[in-house]
């Protein structure tokens, strides 16, 4: 297996850990008769800390989304279990919010009603719901679009509404499945900056799936790289760039950014070489 030595060296620098929020224990996933009998996910052990921003990088088809579905409780693993605060997590719950690749807003509800949905499900009082909805609309900068239907909004605005809807239920962790991959380059960059700000304000644990190395480097405090056949995590790196309190533009021009980018791409390529 190819893993860059420089990545390994860097990983050892950071060892200050927060309390564990989510723990994956021996997670495996098999589909019978598919993938030549190889597991989709092979014995994955992972601990996610509260307040962490974890980016999972990997080529398409490596099992990233399967892992997210298991974390969200949409899919049951063949073996192993997911623990949240040391309690087994077996089905979808508002404790674990999900932001999908496609905005996934309810198309017949206004933006306001979409954000209110989770609060209604929690049986929060009407006046409190109103307060929370306007707070989260404000947080993502969509006050003026409150009464609009999703189709009337741009792609970036829809995804912001979707994030607000997830934040509104006050989950302990938020899972994001390539949420910006369908956006144009400029909107994507704005959304990345916006998400970092939101994370700094809320300090939720974010588990962010992407296939974009630069995105992972700009956002993640911790970066995981996955390989497929069988799906497993081969790199677990604390991102040194997240220590710098600098703008996204500046970080992109750092020498370290380019070195890390190169290393991570090599790590992902190692997968392709081994398989082709």
């Amino acid at each position: 297996m190819y893993v860059s030595t420089s990545i390994k060296a860097r990983s050892e620098i950071f060892n200050n850990r927060n309390p564990t929020l989510i723990e994956l224990k021996n997670i495996s996933l098999y589909y019978s008769n598919e993938n030549n009998g190889l597991p989709i996910l092979d014995n994955i052990n992972l601990q996610l800390e509260a307040n962490d921003f974890v980016c999972l990088l990997g080529p398409s088809g490596c099992g990233k989304s399967s892992l997210l579905n298991i974390l969200a409780g949409f899919q049951k693993p063949t073996t192993g279990e997911v623990m949240i605060n040391d309690k087994p997590h077996t089905g979808p719950s508002p404790n674990v919010g999900v932001v999908f690749q496609h905005h996934n807003l309810f198309p017949w509800m206004t933006i306001e009603k979409n954000i209110e949905f989770g609060l209604k499900m929690k049986s929060i009082s009407k006046s409190e719901r109103k307060r929370l909805v306007s707070y989260y609309l404000n947080l993502v900068g969509l006050e003026s679009s409150a009464k609009m239907l999703p189709y009337q909004l741009s792609g970036g605005m829809k995804q912001r509404a979707s994030i607000a809807r997830t934040l509104a239920t006050d989950p302990q962790a938020i899972l994001m499945d390539e949420p910006f991959s369908a956006l144009d380059a400029l909107t994507r960059e704005n959304m990345q900056i916006h998400l970092l700000e939101l994370w700094k304000k809320t300090r939720k644990c974010i588990f962010f799936i992407t296939h974009d190395v630069e995105e992972a480097l700009l956002l993640g405090k911790r970066i995981l790289v996955m390989h497929s056949k069988p799906g497993r995590i081969i790199v677990d790196l604390q991102n040194p760039l997240s220590q710098y309190n600098q703008s996204v533009q500046k970080i992109k021009h750092l020498k370290e950014f380019n070195e890390l980018r190169h290393d991570l791409i090599s790590a992902i390529r190692g997968y392709s070489k081994a398989n082709n």
């Binding site: 508002p94 198309p107 017949w108 949905f117 989770g118 499900m121 189709y151």
Partner: protein, 264 residues
């Protein structure tokens, strides 16, 4: 500007339709007034109009025209309402569970292609000659299209949408009520339009077989006396009512479901 262009096109197509209708009316007026055709086969527009006025004034066979129409519409809507509130819930349960679907699917697939008049005699035998058997017949013809459109619509609700609602804390019954039902409503309303079409055709047929009132009965009865003018009034009224009902539903769809087909 794109919208203006679309608007112009719409006006143009409307205009063409108007011209086509006007042309038919002119051919009808000219051919009948010049006595090219026997008035028993094709009455003149004037005599149809006179028959219409006469029907409004005197009614038909002792019953006013509005009563005939209302009798027909009462049967139609009673059957549609009953069908809507049974086919939609059942269709939703069948859409989410293939085991429930396995119970009802064969029954509905068996009776659906049968011509309604084939089992109408049985319904009359069981329920009597009055409105009950007619409403039952109309109910059956409205039920199938509503049921089928509901089932297929529920099956097509995106899994991500359901998952999203679940992870926002919705319980399964709430997902069914707040997410699946509104997702399917546009398809259900389209199913309702189909159901109205089928039921309307069945209604006229049913009134022709056994009835003493209703617009279908009026047409059949008038034809026995070779009153082509009354037959024409009946047919034009039936067509007009059908178009009116359909446009009301289409307007409702347009207002309520503006989001359809615009989700990226």
């Amino acid at each position: 500007m794109v919208p203006k262009f679309v608007c112009k096109k719409q006006i143009l197509t409307r205009g063409i339709s108007m011209i086509s209708i006007t042309l038919i009316l002119i051919i009808w007026t000219v051919s009948t007034n010049l006595k090219w055709l026997d008035p028993v086969f094709l009455p003149t527009p004037q005599s149809v109009w006179r028959a219409f006025l006469e029907l409004i004034r005197d009614g038909y066979k002792g019953t006013s025209l509005s009563t005939h129409i209302l009798n027909s519409l009462y049967r139609l809507f009673l059957a549609l309402i009953l069908a809507f509130f049974t086919a939609v819930p059942l269709g939703m349960f069948c859409g989410i569970s293939r085991y429930i679907l396995a119970i009802f699917d064969p029954i509905i697939e068996f009776y659906r292609p049968l011509p309604p008049l084939a089992y109408y005699a049985l319904l009359v035998l069981w329920l009597g000659i009055d409105d009950k058997s007619k409403v039952a017949l109309l109910f059956l013809s409205a039920f199938a299209p509503l049921f089928i459109s509901t089932v297929s619509s529920v099956q097509r609700v995106p899994q991500d949408r359901i998952n999203g609602a679940l992870s926002l804390g919705a319980s399964k019954p709430k997902v069914l009520l707040y997410i699946i039902l509104p997702s399917c409503l546009p398809d259900i309303i389209t199913g309702l339009r189909t159901a109205i079409g089928v039921t309307y055709a069945t209604l006229v047929a049913a009134e022709m077989v056994a009835a003493t009132s209703g617009i279908g009965w009026m047409v059949l009865d008038a034809s026995k006396y070779l009153r082509s003018d009354i037959v024409f009034v009946g047919i034009i009224l039936m067509g007009g009512i059908a178009i009116l009902i359909d446009s009301i539903i289409r307007l409702y769809q347009h207002v309520r479901f503006s989001w359809i087909g615009r989700q990226d």
